[in-house]
């Protein structure tokens, strides 16, 4: 599987309006469903599409199924039913691939930033090693190349290079998220997944990290899915938004539209609570 290069000519201004409407979606997941045990329905028949360069926000309270969806899209968790395709990577349902094939897809084409950096990072390794690992798994066997790639990623995620060999354990929460981001974008992924990327950070740090996320997304033109319970985060990053409750999508549409003029009672409640 070859990694697709980002289009050097694309910018935020020209990509988004053109692609949303006309192109084939980059990500197409249909009929996702997942139960835990007999009674817990985590995700109930959810369809997701996302286009090249688009940022899709998923909002909802905890337990609404949004994180389960993200884990499925990262191929960490198999759904009970549903299919998942990433355009141009593999012509078929990714859920049907075996463990090592899924791993390859994850390494080459999907980046993820978790709310909890302990899940996404090896806290006692160097930060640069965390980024390099991804390239190692992808087959890079040249030390200088690993160093350069790590530096490039850290620069993009606005992480200070003089600290790239510190272990994440010694870094602040905001810095840890930047290490996760650098790792996530190290191979220019087709899909970037963010799970509550700024939750738990100081407000001022939040703003800086969000700035970086927005800029990185524009620079590499990747498709991004951001999950958050925080409408502020969604408002700042997302082009389009899906509102989830009890494992179902209750409302979706352009972010401005949904957030300015919510139709569903639950969304109205969310928006007003925020205001």
């Amino acid at each position: 599987m070859k990694n697709s290069e980002p289009d050097p000519n694309s910018t935020a201004e020209d990509v988004i309006p053109a692609t949303v409407i006309e192109e084939k979606p980059v990500l197409k997941a249909v009929g996702l469903a997942k139960r835990y045990g007999k009674n817990v329905v985590a995700v109930n028949n959810v369809d997701i599409t996302a286009y090249r360069g688009e940022v899709l926000g998923i909002v909802g309270e905890s337990g609404s199924g949004k994180s389960t969806i993200l884990r499925m899209l990262n191929l960490e968790e198999q759904p009970d039913t549903g299919s998942y395709e990433l355009d141009g990577i593999y012509a078929g349902d990714l859920f049907k691939l075996d463990r090592s094939e899924q791993r390859a897809i994850r390494v080459f084409h999907i980046g993820i930033v978790y709310q909890n950096p302990h899940i996404g990072l090896r806290m006692n390794n160097t930060s640069s090693g965390n980024v390099a690992e991804r390239l190692i798994v992808a087959g890079v066997r040249n030390y200088s190349q690993l160093r350069q790639a790590a530096e490039t990623s850290f620069r993009a995620s606005e992480f200070p290079l003089d600290r790239m060999d510190d272990p994440p354990l010694a870094l602040s929460g905001g810095m840890q998220q930047r290490v996760q981001l650098a790792k996530a974008i190290a191979l220019n992924p087709k899909l970037l997944l963010l799970d509550e990327p700024t939750t738990g950070l100081d407000v001022s740090v939040q703003a800086l990290v969000l700035d970086t996320l927005r800029r990185v997304q524009r620079d590499i033109g990747t498709t991004m899915i951001v999950v958050s319970h925080d409408l502020g985060v969604i408002r700042m990053l997302a082009d389009r938004v899906m509102v989830m409750r009890h494992g179902r999508v209750v409302e979706q549409g352009l972010a401005d539209q949904v957030l300015e003029d919510p139709q569903h009672a639950y969304t109205q409640q969310l928006v007003h609570a925020k205001l």
Binding site: G129, E133, I136, V137, S144
Partner: protein, 321 residues
């Protein structure tokens, strides 16, 4: 024969031991597992691993491999740290002889089976020979994954990223790879193996070797093999070559030899002297010096006596550095 045979007639006599100690079922299992290991170079084959009258961790894995192979015509050499006269080597040799009535030798070139702990001899071994290495821990992934079930899965997937990450981290922190002995190596381009705690000096000797190498861990119940003429590549980045121990300038205080792996002998007055660790080879060098007719009794070594270069040119990228 009239009437039924009694149970005591059917049972084995009280004081008899099988040839080469292990019963034939145990030997058959070991031979089958060894054949399987030969067929899948570097793959760790689990085996039952019987208890032997030698403590576990003292070479019982190597010993089981040897006992499954040895016959009265064999000539067995046993070394520990390169030495034939170490108490442990002497004990194992005594045991193998006691239960198999084989020949024993200290001469690497005369041996049909060489059982060794922590060393590969300095003289190039031939196709007719078998090297049995005692292995304390067969799992090269142990440092990054202690659960055997998971590490077996990682081997199955060829998932060795964490080993390379380990190398990367060492280079970041120390600018050098800091692994001493047990340097992991990729066998036949597929499985990463621990070559047992031999020094880095000895790892290249397993690459495209003429002899068969059996690595056996009795306590951990795994054996694996480097068949003859099989590639064994120590893990190295393209731009950071694998390095053997730097013993340049060291001279053996007994034989005067150099460019062989040496043990460091601390001196009371400070500083240290050095001795070639392969005692059999060292003695041959001493004998050479004494010999008047000018003939050599030592075989061709893996590392050239004069230049120290490895016998397969270009394999060690570090040699000219």
């Amino acid at each position: 024969m009239t009437g039924h045979r009694t149970l005591s007639e059917l049972a084995s006599p009280n004081n008899g031991y099988s040839y080469a100690f292990l019963d034939e079922y145990a030997k058959r299992e070991l031979r089958r597992k060894t054949l399987k290991a030969i067929a899948i170079p570097g793959y760790q084959v689990p085996y039952a691993s019987r208890e032997l009258p030698i403590a576990r961790g003292w070479g019982t894995g190597g010993l089981q491999a040897t006992l499954s192979l040895v016959g009265p015509e064999d000539n067995v050499k046993v070394i520990d740290q390169g030495a034939d006269d170490s108490v442990n080597a002497a004990n194992l040799r005594r045991f193998i002889f006691r239960v198999s009535a084989c020949h024993t030798t200290t001469d690497t070139l005369a041996a049909t089976i060489v059982q060794s702990r922590h060393r590969v001899p300095e003289e190039i071994m031939g196709e007719h020979q078998i090297l049995v290495l005692q292995v304390p821990d067969p799992e090269p992934l142990r440092g990054v994954e202690s659960d055997i079930g998971k590490s077996r899965e990682m081997h199955g997937d060829g998932e060795y990223g964490l080993l390379w990450l380990g190398l990367y981290e060492q280079l970041v922190r120390y600018r050098r790879v800091t692994i001493g002995a047990s340097y992991p190596a990729l066998v036949h381009g597929r499985y990463v193996m621990s070559p047992s705690p031999i020094p880095r000096w000895d790892v290249p000797k397993l690459h495209m070797a003429q002899h068969l190498t059996i690595l056996s861990a009795g306590r951990e119940k795994r054996l694996y093999v480097v068949p003859p003429y099989t590639s064994v590549k120590p893990l190295e980045f393209d731009d950071v070559p694998f390095r053997i121990e730097n013993q340049r300038g060291w001279t053996c205080r007994i034989s005067g030899g150099s460019n062989k792996f040496m043990s460091e002998i601390p001196l009371q007055s400070g500083g240290a002297e050095h001795e070639i660790s392969d005692t059999s080879y060292r003695e041959k060098l001493v004998a050479d010096v004494k010999r008047v007719d000018g003939t050599e009794c030592a075989g061709v070594p893996y590392y050239d006596n004069e230049t120290g270069h490895f016998y397969i040119g270009g394999f060690l990228k570090d040699e000219e550095l």
